[in-house]
Symmetry: C2
Subunit: 207 residues, 2 copies
DNA sequence: TGTTGTGAAGAGGTTCACAGCG
DNA sequence: CGCTGTGAACCTCTTCACAACA
């Protein structure tokens, strides 16, 4: 399987979101042009993104909504449920634990961890917060696929090392620190402060 | 002023983070190679990023930490405080309102808004949640520069229209919807579900 | 006719390699 | 000698333009 470009995956994710809207509205087919307008890109881009996986559109008509949804779900790896743990039961961790959009997409929280004795044992959206020291023994039972890391920057690398040792191969990192992981482990980092700085940089230079 | 590439801004933000660590440890100078190792990139990339704004390194030595910090802060628009409002006092909005890392970087919450009568009036980290209908009249007093939008997808565009009418020219969008804004307004979108799908896509295709 | 699929051209960002300088 | 600054090569992603086809 050829490597999919990261910007392309992000767009495919957006297409899928709109296709699901179309399906809810009983729209049978959709053209690259409509999809482009909805996702804020160009029709050529949409066709290039899709043609990477084969040609499943009908010329003069567009793409069949249910068919395209099924293919995109396959491409994005949504053909199966994914289980994830949240490490760090702070404000952001708690918010993510309760984020309904995850469940709707087939991502399920299996456990929430923290190091803080004051938080351990507390209930969080149906999950009792566990001691992070338990992660290694819990993993074989819960078999989590992904770890969402929402701990302070100082402990982010140690947390990453731990979840890798637990056999987890996907990390969504909200700590403001780059993580070193072995080959075969995928990391996505989201840095809130950086996002604001991208804005301030743009605003400062705009005038 | 030439336009700065988005990936470059993100790296500059990371460099700044590490330079602040260096300053705290009294390190006087730092080489492109060290900075690259810390930020997870290459020394050539670091030098290219920096040379875009002029040449302020010392050959054979590296960059002076305090000097480079000052320049990066200027480039990233951190030479002044920024005021932002949060629209949407749900879980994510609340978490962001209390995120200390923002304040440390010079980003200050001036108000939190919601449409839900049950939330309006409640205290949130020192802010009384206000009715979003007040935003237009509040803006001239609070002069917010940025709006963080954490409302459901369905109301995201209407919210964006409102904050633009209020004179706000920077938007950090956490709603899973692309926003249409007039020329001169900058939008950064963070989509949690997309981030997880980038991971699931990578994990699904990896083996 | 309307819309896809795609080679070719273009733009933008990254890496290389080395001259230049402290 | 070591490390910066940078033109040139390289690569990746985007846009264009049009032949192919339902």
């Amino acid at each position: 399987m050829k490597r999919i470009a990261d910007p392309s995956v992000r767009r495919l994710s957006a297409y899928l979101r709109f296709l699901e809207d179309c399906q809810a509205r009983q729209v049978p087919t959709v053209s690259s042009d409509e999809l482009a307008r909805l996702a804020g890109t160009t029709s050529a881009q949409v066709r290039k993104d899709l043609s990477f996986f084969g040609s499943f559109g009908k010329r003069g008509l567009g793409y069949e909504v249910p068919d395209l949804i099924a293919r995109l779900r396959g491409i994005l790896g949504l053909g199966r449920p994914w289980h994830f743990v949240i490490v760090g039961a702070g404000k952001i961790g708690s918010a993510l634990a309760q984020y309904a959009a995850f469940r709707e997409r087939g991502f399920h929280v299996v456990a929430v961890y923290d190091t803080d004795a004051a938080k351990i044992g507390a209930a969080l959206d149906g999950h009792r917060v566990r001691d992070v020291a338990q992660l290694l023994e819990d993993a074989p039972l819960d078999h989590p696929d992904i770890a969402v890391i929402t701990v302070p920057a100082a402990s982010a690398q140690a947390t990453a090392d731990l979840v890798v040792r637990a056999g987890i191969r996907g990390i969504l990192n909200f700590a403001p620190a780059p993580l070193r992981v072995p080959h075969g482990v995928t990391v996505q980092t989201v840095n809130m402060a950086t996002e604001l700085e991208v804005l301030s940089s743009a605003l400062a230079h705009h005038d």
